[in-house]
Amino acid sequence: MLRTSPLARVINPGRFGAGKGVPGVTLSVVHPITMSMVIARKDQAKKMERVLARLRKGDVHWAGPDQYYVINAPYTDLKQKLEGLASVSDQSHGRVMFRIAGAKARAVLAKGTPVDVHEDVFPIGKSALTQMAHVSVHLTRTGENDFTLSLFRGFSESFWEWLTSQSAEFGYQVS
């Protein structure tokens, strides 16, 4: 069966907000995603991390003490590889992931999170669990000016409305 994004009706590709030139930010919904929450079994964190470090497929993002979100690795494979080392829970449908990129990405994020995302203190690959616009989010810096945000699916439409309104002053592209 084909997966349907909760934002399928909502997302409208195009150039929005102020100005006409290069948009300050580019916003997109990453869908469908494959995402698992991996939590170390008691006293197995080190071993689990070694397995995660050796994963051939999948991006591993810190998501709390001895916890990681693993993106792009199939749930059943992961469960098998981490048997006895970690509890794995499929979150592919439960969370919605946004990508925020561009020169003004940090300025948009700063309207929501108290986390300092300056390049000197928030290097590429770093993740943070925080709140934006009253919603708990998982934030990861994925590139120079690239960030991903994931949050509970049910809030995604509401959050998208906030995100686009806060991006409007810089001009934004939805792709």
Partner: protein
């Protein structure tokens, strides 16, 4: 107020939920006479106070934050497990 979460770094108090005094210990048996005190009796000290604080808007760890109720100075934030270990001896 800023709280130095041992997992997430320094975050503003809005990301946290306060529960109260972290020093009472849960009695081990159901007939312990200390149950009433454990559930209901709390001091409201002026000065240093060890308090359960949940990083509900972050990593979701239960911390024990030691702070001064008068000046709001935060002395430390430990995980609940680390606090218990320190409390024992």
């Amino acid at each position: 107020m800023l709280i130095p979460c041992p997992h997430c770094g320094t975050r503003p108090v809005e990301e946290f939920t306060f529960l109260g005094d972290a020093t009472p210990t849960r009695p081990a048996t159901p007939d312990d006479p200390k149950w009433y005190s454990y559930v209901y009796e709390r001091d409201n000290p002026r000065g240093r106070f060890d308090e359960f604080v949940h990083h509900s808007g972050g990593c979701r760890a239960w911390l024990v934050v030691s702070r001064d109720t008068k000046t709001h100075a935060v002395f430390s934030a430990l995980t609940a497990a680390d606090f218990k270990r320190k409390q024992k001896p």
